[in-house]
Symmetry: C2
Subunit: 478 residues, 2 copies
């Protein structure tokens, strides 16, 4: 009951998007700032959302034959140093443990920023024969990266994620795995989070430290900035060589294994907020919402009202995740705002007159529309609404993605575009690092990905005018 006066205090997104975001995540009680710079506390409502995400992904991973494991949270410096590109990418942003109890350690340990190095060490120990392959392991864990500028969910010194790590007998099989998990992430975003994404490959500059290829799903936020939402890496056998992960093949010869890793993090919660939220607060897709339906009694002190809403709650709870808000100390109007801020997809309002008429009011969070529904049809109507709202939210997000996607034929047009807009710029690219760097220097934009579906709208590079290799998406990003 801490935030009694929330809605009128919410910053409007058109006034200050960053402040709107912070207001929303704090006031909806998804998260709070921890008393350590850059760290967050995930509160029950935010964690329930993360649990739903975990549940869907974990079920899918297991269906595809992955098994969960747990590897140590601390990694010796010497292990981190084994793969050159990897250590260069991560060493500047790790937290170092130097003392255990009262003793200084002989070797520093970093709090894992990611687990390739420790997992590779064990894979090298466990792998003997082609018959052992593939190893398809995943872990749900916390990781720490010492970020300078942080924002709840989007960029925090510690975050939660899953990291899948697999090894395979052939390059083809490892690539197949990489692309399969890439698709799992894209489908998950679309089907559960109502977030349409662009699927594609990272440029050499933007790929994961140590990977041969990184595949990404890129989402478009309300303000036109891109959010990298899940990545899948193909390592070839770089790490296998650095860590000596070998197996005896069918012919009895020793070969290096081929490797992948893939991850999705609590950052995706920021993506849900910035894709769907509005000036009233969160707007959660029914397929992932911790609470799908909230029941608010009207004139609850009147005879029979609390009894009726109690019945309704137990009836609807068989099919949906339902909350009954029967607090006495606040008004129905307060409760409406409270649950709208928290993005609950459907609200049921019911008072003495409604009960008399065997009906209730159903409010949907996505369109803010109200309708009167017979109590006999309520369950059926809510089931329909869960589908309608989910679809409608996906369509709205697709619309934003479409409206925020532009084409830049040359660099003047590109600069003008980002002077006036935020969004995805489709550009043709020669493939040179120099052109990529220019996007960063002059516009703080980056190549988000080389999409699988390229719309090659011209022959020449939109930046330098030379022959183009790819159509890419560029944007400012979170």
């Amino acid at each position: 009951m801490e935030n009694k006066e929330f809605v009128k205090d919410l910053t409007k997104m058109e006034d200050d998007f960053a402040k709107w975001y912070t207001d929303i995540v704090l006031k909806s009680e998804l998260v709070d700032y921890a008393p350590i710079k850059g760290f967050m506390v995930i509160r029950p409502y935010g964690y329930a959302l993360w649990e739903n995400i975990q549940h869907v992904l974990d079920t899918k991973f297991k269906e595809l034959g992955h098994k969960n494991t747990y590897f140590p949270c601390l990694i010796p410096e010497s292990l981190l140093n084994k793969e050159k590109e990897h250590v260069e990418g991560f060493a500047p942003e790790v937290a170092w443990v130097t003392h255990g109890g009262e003793k200084e350690l002989e070797e520093r340990l970093c709090v894992r920023p990611t687990s390739e190095t420790i997992i590779c060490t064990m894979y090298a120990k466990w792998l003997h024969s082609y018959r052992d392959l593939p190893f398809k392991y995943n872990q749900w864990a916390n990781v720490v990266r010492w970020e300078k500028t942080t924002r709840p969910f989007l960029r925090t010194a510690e975050f939660l994620w899953q990291e899948g790590h697999t090894i395979h007998a052939t390059a083809e099989e490892a690539m197949e795995e990489t692309l399969q998990m890439h698709k799992v992430y894209a489908d998950f975003c679309k089907d559960y989070l109502a977030i349409p994404v662009i699927m594609g490959q990272k440029s050499e500059k933007e790929k994961f430290a140590g990977a041969e290829a990184t595949y990404t799903i890129e989402a478009m936020m309300h303000d036109g900035k891109a959010l990298q939402s899940g990545t899948s890496h193909y390592f070839g056998n770089h790490f296998a060589k650095a860590f000596d992960i070998k197996f005896q093949n069918k012919e009895g010869k020793l070969e290096y294994a081929y490797q992948t890793s893939w991850g999705m993090t609590t950052r995706i919660i920021g993506g849900i907020i910035m894709t769907h939220g509005d000036n009233r607060g969160l707007k959660l897709p029914p397929n992932i919402a911790p609470i799908q339906v909230v029941i608010v009694p009207i004139a609850q002190q009147k005879e029979g009202v609390l009894e009726k809403v109690g019945e309704l709650k137990s009836e609807l709870s068989k099919k949906f995740s339902v909350e009954l808000d029967d607090r006495k100390e606040v008004t129905p109007g307060f409760k409406f705002n409270y649950w709208e801020l928290r993005g609950v997809p459907v609200r049921v309002e019911i008072g003495p007159k409604d009960i008399e008429n065997n009906q209730c009011i159903v409010f949907r969070r996505d369109t803010l529309e109200k309708e009167t529904v017979s109590l006999d049809k309520l369950e059926e109507r809510i089931a329909e609404l869960m589908v309608e709202i989910q679809n409608n939210m996906l369509e709205s997000a697709k619309e934003n993605l479409k409206n925020r996607t532009f084409t830049a034929h040359d660099f003047e047009e590109y600069k003008k575009l980002f002077a006036e807009n935020e969004g995805f710029a489709k550009i043709m690219w020669c493939g040179d690092r120099a052109c990529e760097d220019k996007l960063k220097e002059e516009n703080s934009t980056t190549i988000r990905c080389i999409p699988f579906e390229e719309d090659k709208f011209q022959e020449c590079c939109s930046i330098c005018g030379k022959k183009a290799k790819h159509m890419v998406y560029a944007a400012r990003q979170y």
Copy 2:
């Protein structure tokens, strides 16, 4: 396929219990040593067991109104220092982060050994009114304690656990919560893990650093040593005062909140192993086993065998967790040993002749008995066996607990007892720290708990002969 010759290599428990334990945990592939001293890697089979434990406990916690959260893994030294007894208990065994990226930190951060201090800080911020209470939060997390002597699961520098942290308006309510969670743990051990436990309170010396009272469940291992298996702490308002956790009561006055915490860890997996395992390996209770039934085809190269076991697998999988071992490169005999080592409760063997006779052989891991079962009755029989095996394992464990429980009337008898046996000694205790210390000095035994059910068999203290206050259980412990 790494361990081809496991069973004959297993140390016998009567020869060397500690080595038997290590053999079992490693060869059954529950766990492996990490390349950092004192840390473990939890392998898929071990993690699946932990996931089952998590699932049962988490469901129960939520039924009782607890919500999950996530708090930072790093805690500033100044926060750890706020509660005097707490910091004295934990500071000697924490890992210290001193550098973030390339910069030395202004204040050291410890990797959480437990989260009271960081959670209290947030509770102080969130709590305003009596209406907000209780806060009943839990988190599933990793913690680090810099232990000198470690053993997989039982004592490791990092372990996984859940830590529940609640605050309440009154002392009574907080005590009720503490005792409720104490009972949740005891019931869980009995009903799922087939481990009978002694419920009771820790002595002042043995209680949690900073707690007013600690309740423990103590289990008896095969070798007669005790395992502390889950603890629930009542804090009174000590931490509330140290962290300023206050609320406005109904009369508008400020009051300190009353607090509890309670936890169960991956150590309990060690308890399952040492309660039930035998010289063939693990023996897992059906109610918690990741694989309840393994199907081993006999003469699988013969026509129709693989087809039939495939059918059986999909049929049985509707009710049980089933694994089909249709590996070609190893013999059925190898597979029998392999799955016995892994403790799968029921094995189904079926070959061409069995198929002809519409039957199979069913082997139960607990008694090592085989029976012939008609395929028409197989599902029904396995369902019965799940119950029978679970009950039988609990009864065996109770029997061991009973046989390992002794009574010591005086200190001579006590010393003789522990010179010849391992087990629980029931002793009368005057309550003095001096007597408690004597148990430790002369026999390396400790008071495990003051049980709820005291069998006051004499008036005088078994150690000093003065007037006794309590009957307590003493033992050597893990």
